[in-house]
């Protein structure tokens, strides 16, 4: 943690849901350390052919905008109103009922009234009204219209980078107004004049060049995978095969790059490798499409398309039948809701069929990409893998639904089914904080930087608080999730608010529980000694239980 932080009680104690200002029309914001992100460096903007590359900082008085910045933004807005019905409708129909007001984790954790989704949207809406509507031109403030000024632009930067595009607000809005959509488009507008952040543009540039956010070059990628294979051998005594860029494989597997680089993601990677080996899957990794995540989603629709193009292109080049995707949240927003539209049709692929169970994944008939928990829960359902739940007895888990799989896919039961079949102790967090109402980690959509830590801790407060509840009452000691950003940002969040709770991926626990032919195991994938080293009899019992839950729970 880079910045010096106040104690949790102090941070939460300062939150007040009663706005202090009289109204919200004054756009000026104070760029306090810990609440904003560094500006995108010029090199990366140049590499991506993006406008106005220059050195600047949000704390500068002069942001070095182009002279005609105002026309560029207003023209950009007009253009997007014409291209996105969502934007057009969302600009017009909010009734300010306030149902969304206290649903945003950034509001709950900061009390800043402009973090109420309705007001976040009004920041853009006010300019739209002034420029675009008759009422706004005539009545001004009465109807909430504001002139676009440099201060408004700075305010946009501040608040549209305090939205993680999590869509929780949209669940509660009677018209489904999705502030994430508004944020996405507002960020596009800011990008038009070169106002963007480093932690989005740098991963995007890396991904464009090397194939992954971390900028790992092909040989480095191959090394990482090889290293994981060796490590898995040490842990299990089994040498698995992990092909890269293998032509003619049946399945292309795409995971977020953090899985082969960061911790605790890494244990999930070991889990995938163990699982694929055990079921004898004919698959390949790709070094060219070595990233499932897509920071273009946080930048612009165009950048999303540019980065996403690699996946289908690579599937075609390698001649695979279909694509399997790993544990990642926003990656799945892009794959589920955008990929087919952006870069499809994938008519060179086949409708996905599990080679192990024969199950046809009809829900992925067109996009031809299957989520790993859909795939694994189908394996479990058909009894194709043997799982010893007791090997995870040192864990008492809860599950954090990541924003995108829950609110943009409806992937709620699959991960739960997998979890319940590979471990014994599982407790849900309170119901207003899970499933479609889940709370964001507070660091999604490119906001997971060190310089932004205070805001992340605030935004993650509701999530951490729900986790604290099950930690305090049920001794939960691991928060499971299926998202790479979660795995990166929840550990510091929990360390701050709920020390004593670890973070892990579902396939890490699968990797632990998986009984592999010929294995010699003494530890789990983290190297911790297994809770039960003589599982011979218990195993049978566990299997019976597995079967039972498999029928009952879903």
């Amino acid at each position: 943690m880079a910045e010096k932080l106040v104690k949790p009680e102090e941070l939460a104690g300062g939150i007040d849901y009663k706005p202090k200002q009289k109204d919200w029309f004054d756009p000026r914001v104070e760029f306090r350390r810990g609440t904003w992100n560094y500006a995108a460096p010029p090199d990366n903007l140049k590499y991506l052919d993006l406008p106005n590359p220059r050195k600047w900082s949000p704390t500068d008085e002069d942001w070095k905008l182009p002279d005609n910045w105002k026309e560029i933004i207003l023209e950009g807005l007009r253009d997007r109103i014409k291209r996105f019905r969502s934007l057009q409708v969302f600009m017009d129909i909010c009734v300010r009922c306030g149902a969304c007001a206290d649903k945003c984790h950034f509001f709950i954790g900061s009390g800043d009234p402009k973090n109420m989704p309705v007001l976040r949207a009004e920041l853009l809406r006010s300019v739209y009204r002034k420029d675009y509507t008759l009422a706004g031109k005539l009545m001004g403030k009465m109807v909430g219209a504001r002139e676009l000024t440099v201060d408004v632009l700075k305010e946009w930067f501040y608040y549209f980078y305090q939205c993680t595009e999590c869509r929780r607000c949209s669940v509660f809005c009677p018209y489904g107004i999705d502030t994430a959509e508004i944020t996405m488009i507002a960020r596009e507008l800011l990008n038009l004049v070169g106002v963007s952040i480093e932690w989005i543009c740098t991963p995007a540039a890396n991904c464009f060049r090397t194939g992954n956010h971390l900028g790992i070059q092909p040989h480095g990628f191959a090394d990482s995978i090889e290293f994981a294979v060796d490590e898995l051998e040490e842990l299990t005594g089994i040498k698995v095969d992990a092909p890269i860029n293998k032509k003619g494989a049946e399945i292309l597997f795409v995971a977020p790059s953090a899985d082969y680089f960061a911790s605790p993601h890494y244990y999930t990677l070991l889990g995938y490798l163990a699982l694929f080996h055990e079921i004898g899957l004919d698959y390949t990794w790709s070094a060219y499409a070595s990233e499932g995540g897509n920071f273009g989603l946080f930048h612009s629709h165009e950048m999303m398309k540019r980065l996403n193009a690699k996946i289908y292109a690579e599937a075609k080049r390698l001649g695979v039948k279909w694509i399997l995707g790993g544990e990642c949240g926003h990656m799945w927003r892009v794959i589920h809701q955008y990929m087919d539209t952006l870069n499809g049709p994938a008519d060179f692929l086949e409708e996905p069929v599990s080679p192990i169970t024969g199950t046809r994944f009809e829900n992925a008939r067109s996009t031809k990409m299957v989520h790993i928990t859909e795939f694994t829960s189908d394996l479990i359902r058909h009894g194709k893998i043997k799982l010893d739940k007791s090997r995870n007895d040192h864990w008492h888990a809860t599950f954090h639904d990541s924003c995108n799989p829950s609110r943009a896919m409806g992937l709620l039961e699959e991960p739960r089914y997998v979890i319940k079949n590979c471990m014994n102790k599982f407790t849900e967090m309170p119901e207003n904080t899970i499933r479609e109402q889940t709370f964001c980690c507070g660091s999604g959509s490119g906001l997971g930087t060190d310089e932004n830590l205070e805001m992340r801790l605030r935004g993650g407060f509701p999530r951490a608080n729900a986790c604290k509840y099950v930690h305090d009452t049920k001794d939960v000691n691991i928060l499971l999730c299926i998202c790479a950003i979660d795995k990166a940002t929840l550990p510091p969040l929990l360390e701050y608010w709920v020390p004593g709770v670890e973070v892990g991926g579902i396939h890490e626990l699968i990797g632990n529980a998986l009984i592999m032919k010929g294995e010699k195991r003494e530890t789990d994938l983290r190297g911790t000694p297994l809770p039960n080293l003589a599982p011979a009899e218990e195993n049978t019992e566990d299997k019976a239980e597995t079967g039972e839950e498999g029928e009952g729970d879903v």
């Binding site: 939460a12 104690g13 109204d23 291209r83 996105f84 019905r85 969502s86 934007l87 057009q88 409708v89 017009d92 300010r96 009922c97 306030g98 149902a99 206290d102 709950i108 009234p113 109420m116 007001l119 008759l134 009422a135 009545m139 403030k141 869509r167 669940v171 009677p174 018209y175 999705d178 464009f208 040989h219 890269i244 860029n245 070094a287 540019r306 690699k310 690579e314 589920h336 087919d340 952006l342 049709p345 829900n363 992925a364 008939r365 067109s366 990409m369 359902r381 609110r407 943009a408 896919m409 409806g410 992937l411 709620l412 039961e413 699959e414 479609e436 109402q437 509701p462 608080n465 509840y469």
Partner: protein
Amino acid sequence: MAAISALLILAVLIVVSMVGTGMADLDFLFGVVFPYAAILIFLVGFIYRIIRWAQSPVPFKITTTCGQQKSLDWIKDSPFEAPHSKLAVIGRMLMEILFFRSLFRNTKVDLKKDGPRVVYGGSKWLWLAGLAFHWSFLIILLRHYRFFADPVPFFVSGIESLDSFFQIGLPLFYITDAIILIALTYLFLRRVADPKMRFISLGSDYFALFLLLAIGVTGVLMRYTPMRVDIISIKELAMGLVSLKPVVPADIGSIFYIHLFLVSVLFAYFPFSKLMHMGGVFMSPTRNMANDNRVKRHVNPWDYPVKTHTYEEWEDEFRELMRAAGMPLEKEK
């Protein structure tokens, strides 16, 4: 402040109609010209707005899922929360439009300083008041149809007798009259009492509430108090308006003209205001699209080619490193 300016505007409107019909004798203007103009503005404006919205395409399918997707056949999906077919979408929209499904989810956040703890309480009042207002408004609107038709159609009489189910008072008391005023009053009090709501409320939000309240109050005054007006003349005026042969019966009473004028204002104001949510709710892409993204390809009509980093370019850049690492190559050099 915003509420006060809204109230002032409303006061001006009321005074204008009182003076206009009471002193200046502009009954024809208020009884015929304004209503016609208002309806015209409403229709043209409403249609224009819908067409404008419809002209913007829907480039992506961005359904918000509020429940389990349809995936493996042994996992139970929630068709109304994550609809996978057109029919299910219709179901979801009906739930939304008839019963305000999303508002029903509403919760209220509270921060307890011990801990600290955030807690989420149920909060159904907004849902209840919203639903009560909209349904009452619809019923009252339909009841008014009696003025415009002769004989009064059966469904209008049916609604009326249901609405006056309790059979209290003479004239019979309509339940919706009470409900709508209570609901609107609640919606107003909520805006001023909750500091968050006060903060987000604009003058136009208060204006819409005040206008509706004033229409309700004038209506109630006409029906239940000594300010009663001559129903026969009103029907004559109304029938004249619909048959496009307008007549202005003498002496309907200025309370009626205030009511009528405010209704005209409401209609004329509608297309320019947030009240358009009535049309917009049908067009919200997060609600009116199926969550079948991976099943059916959605086409973006303005899609354009973008600059990508192709495999060939990529291999050209990293070939030597890849060769050294023994990775498969497309081209040897």
